[in-house]
Symmetry: D2
Subunit: 338 residues, 4 copies
């Protein structure tokens, strides 16, 4: 950590800072420049991070040298993490894993219908919401545990891995009994108690990026889960909030190579929520794959007009089939598998 002192810092203030650094077991090194004096501090930055150095008199600013995360970093683990999702499906091992299904689980029949359709295209992971975070208290909130039963049933029947969102720390154990992968939604990316709770399971966790979260904060949220003992974290980019309003969110495609550079964790992309419009989903899916993502999570609905949630951004099964054809060619061309 580098402490930049104010131009009018007094000797007394400087001595005080140095003394405090020594007390914390750190080694401060003072460099006097033409316009500023700086103190480089060697030692564990974690100790410094909890000390509000900028509150010290005479300090102009503090520049951290290290990233605040550890377990999720490439430095901690150089090779890509491969996560076993069960039923012979692995993510992070080179294959592009496509996750598909309806936004919300509305009935066993409809779920089975959509699941069969996407399964035909080679999809091995079925998505479907049982608990839906809705901005309005008057909107459909999901069928809850009933929906989880349908999900498990259809997953078992078709031999598909299942993923569903968990919103409440009280539900983690229950949801974990039904689903193979637990999803943490964008709105809960910094629901730290929920992160801790899923960190105590050994289930794969699909961690969506918060709508206004930096990549660093997203990795810090993953760090919560890893530090709890669960290393099975899959990051999911789903768009960030910007001033642009043609799309629901702005898909941050750069997050794919950025995460690959900073972390060993696999990353999947959700083009459906990012775009908020089904007709943009194919282009965004192709872009994400070309940028090197490990998987996609796509909303598919056979009757989008009647969907209880997010019908506007769901692909019809025939459009999904067409997209999968394009993706297979693309994935092969870039030397990967599906």
């Amino acid at each position: 950590m580098i402490i930049v002192l104010k131009p009018d810092v007094t000797q007394e203030q400087k001595d005080y800072i140095i003394e405090r650094m020594h007390k914390l077991g750190l080694s401060p090194h003072v460099s006097r420049g033409v316009e500023r004096t700086i103190i480089g501090v060697i030692g564990p930055e974690d100790v410094l991070r909890v000390t509000p150095l900028e509150a010290f008199p005479g300090v102009e600013k503090v520049l951290p040298v290290l990233a605040p995360y550890r377990l999720v970093s490439r430095e901690f683990k150089a090779e890509d993490s491969i996560i076993d999702l069960g039923k012979d499906v692995k993510i992070g091992a080179g294959k592009v894993v496509v996750i598909a299904g309806p936004c919300a689980i509305e009935s066993p029949t409809l779920l089975r219908e959509i699941a069969s359709q996407v399964k035909k295209e080679g999809v091995m992971v079925l998505r479907g919401g049982a608990f839906k975070p809705r901005t309005s208290p008057y909107s459909f909130q999901g069928l809850g545990q009933e929906a989880l039963e349908y999900l498990k049933q259809v997953g078992d029947e078709l031999g598909m891995v299942t993923v569903t969102e968990v919103m409440d720390p009280r539900d983690v154990k229950m949801v974990a009994r039904y689903a193979d992968i637990l999803q943490i939604g964008a709105r809960n990316m910094q629901n730290f108690n929920l992160l801790r709770e899923v960190g105590e399971t050994q289930k794969p966790i699909l961690l969506k990026r918060g709508m206004s979260s930096t990549i660093k904060e997203w990795l810090m949220s993953a760090e919560y889960i890893l530090s709890g003992g669960n290393f099975n974290v899959i990051l999911c980019e789903r768009g960030i909030r910007t001033f642009e309003d043609f799309t629901r969110s702005t898909l941050d495609v750069s997050a794919i190579p950025a995460v690959k550079y900073l972390s060993h964790l696999p990353i999947v992309v959700d083009p459906s929520h990012a775009a908020g419009k089904w007709n943009l989903v194919p282009a965004l899916s192709r872009a994400a794959v070309a940028a090197g993502c490990d998987g996609l999570i796509i909303e598919v609905h056979s009757h989008p007009e009647e969907a209880f949630s997010d019908g506007v951004q769901s692909l019809l099964p025939e459009k999904f089939t067409q997209l999968m054809q394009e993706l297979r060619i693309l994935i092969k061309a870039i030397g990967r598998k599906i």
Copy 2:
């Protein structure tokens, strides 16, 4: 709701939409313009909101006419809501209510010291965190229930109303036994299960605006609480996330008159978290008061260098005293009370 049709919409598509509107018990009115045909739909927009009209073939876009919230709106209730915080403190009744205290409760001694100092300046509401949402799993997370005991004790001793954050739906009842006001933090503004849980108490709720939430979404989160039966909601503007990085967040001072226009709920401002720098706190506090807020929530710490959390943005008691002097003059000048 207005449905704008595509220029190449077919008669069949139009008929289908009209038929569906009738089935939903709504009255569609078609207007044929030079370049577009539009369908105005009369009837409860709530029914329409859950129907994904934009997924219908032939639809270009859908323009809502009404706001999605109801109970929180000025239209529902024209007069300002006045919320009784206990101990003869009311918010929304004209007086500017100042809430002050440390970011986190670190010890009973320190809490009592800071509380006494702010009480001397007329502060009637004491803030102090027991559960701290921290971006890093390695940072201090608060003293939990122990801190709540200190808070209650000091509040009782000094006759002050107390406010503290609750982060977990499992903790709501417990925290409600200790504190007078429950705070929902920015990161939990869309933690809908937590909102529902506090909606079932009758405690005053301080609802912080999410870092990337629009005013509309913030009001929708309040709507969750009101629709659960608890009308005692105080909104708290604490800055939104933008590209500007000199400040921690960008205080959206326009939210004050905007909320006053749209809603009957009182609004307080947190200049400490918005700025992230103590030296900007006085200017932002004055701005918020001049813009018409109902209260302020300010971090004060007698030893900010040693604070476990957010020392950089805490005011020293003597700076707080100075700010209160300025505010008293300002508040009097604009014809309000403190």
Copy 3:
């Protein structure tokens, strides 16, 4: 256009609005809903756009039905525009056109060296800055007209089309004598006098998106050029400003399908400025191509450490060669040509 009236609008206010609409030669249609009365106005929205309807007493809000642009829209022209760049290079006709070269033109030798290297990879369009918009008055501002001479010379020698930025309306004619394509930089996207000036030439214009511009505003800036009589506009997405700071800007990859949906104009992508880091450029280039862009503009420098400008985001020629190999495979796979 739809005028939504306030719930407490008076008859007198309503009559006044209707009367004004008639005077403007428009046909107002009143619909009385349960909670609001709305007035649909049929006729040219352009007339309405300059009338501040929201300033009328009794008006709550105004909802436009049509987009504000015309000439750039798909509705105006359904087929993709193909723009002839000279020297047998066309953009918008299916081929992916790669534009490459140094950020700034530093010397004829260096320019020739880099141009030859990218030419070997099949690049037909050479970029190079003569006038550099720099945030600091103390930074290198470009070699000006001298650089234009080098650009023309190298372009002629190697048979390459050239593109360079013009920043000042006074320079348009002069720059047009040297370069084949005129670039309007992100900072000048709303320099309307400059837009008008290039609108009076018949040169192809590469119009970069402003850092905080919506797609709609970007298309409006293109409309300025088309309405001046120059239909040869190429849009260039170069990243928008968000809170994310790992990248210099956030590449809005969704802008590619969005522009294709809304407009007939070709779109190229600048991954170098978006990322601000050379190591993210290959992934973003692939993503842009997979999303359907008509071209790429990439910074290449043989000695990035010594570049006068933007060395950090320039690819070394060998990295560029590697990227072109990847792109050729990808472009073929998606059924396009390079």
Copy 4:
């Protein structure tokens, strides 16, 4: 400047960087930490700023120690700059200077009418647009030189200082013959040629903040003008672009104390453009004054419904009178003058 090296940096890479620093006439100091080696470089940062250090092999990141601006900084000049606007009006000297008038100059009669009305409230500076930057080529673009004549005439008649926008470097000298203060609009904040052109006059320049500009970039734009020899720069905060869409822009009220901390230049606030709604203007004006701004620039129109531009955000003269009454009380209360 601090150079943070990668954990796997080689000795050769380190030596090369150090050698290059010496060649640039700088003194590098190497500190070896537990996890990273850093190189502190002492000497003029300007030299370093143009060297793309991050492009050097082995470099992880570069942390600047100093701000990139100089002449505009508090460090360069500790006391507040006072700018003489002519006709005995000074800004930066403690008084709050209110600038008012119509958005665009539409006719001499209307300008005189509005000017007289605001003059009665003590306003000494008259605003009025002759050249209007409009997002649509089809909107009213201002009356041009004709409007400047009206502005000069009315300013002379009423003894008021005048301010108007200049958009084109070709117009600077001409506009300077008519108006007392030249305004640089938000869209031109980084029109560097225009900045240089006004930097060569000695006229006071009102420099609006760009819609997506950081405070640092805004100060850099001011630096362009000062470095050209014109120190008469007044900064103008007019709102930044965020995701919030209730207001046209988000007024960044924190920019007021931030600019006061970083710079000696005066700052005024434009609540009309920030809000985009006249009914929010009074609250934002009061907030800006309470936060310590040196002035306000407010749109006033006697017939906002008929305004050619921005009628929605213009105050009626009677509302302006009411606001001025509030402001006089507020300004007196905070110990300043108007």
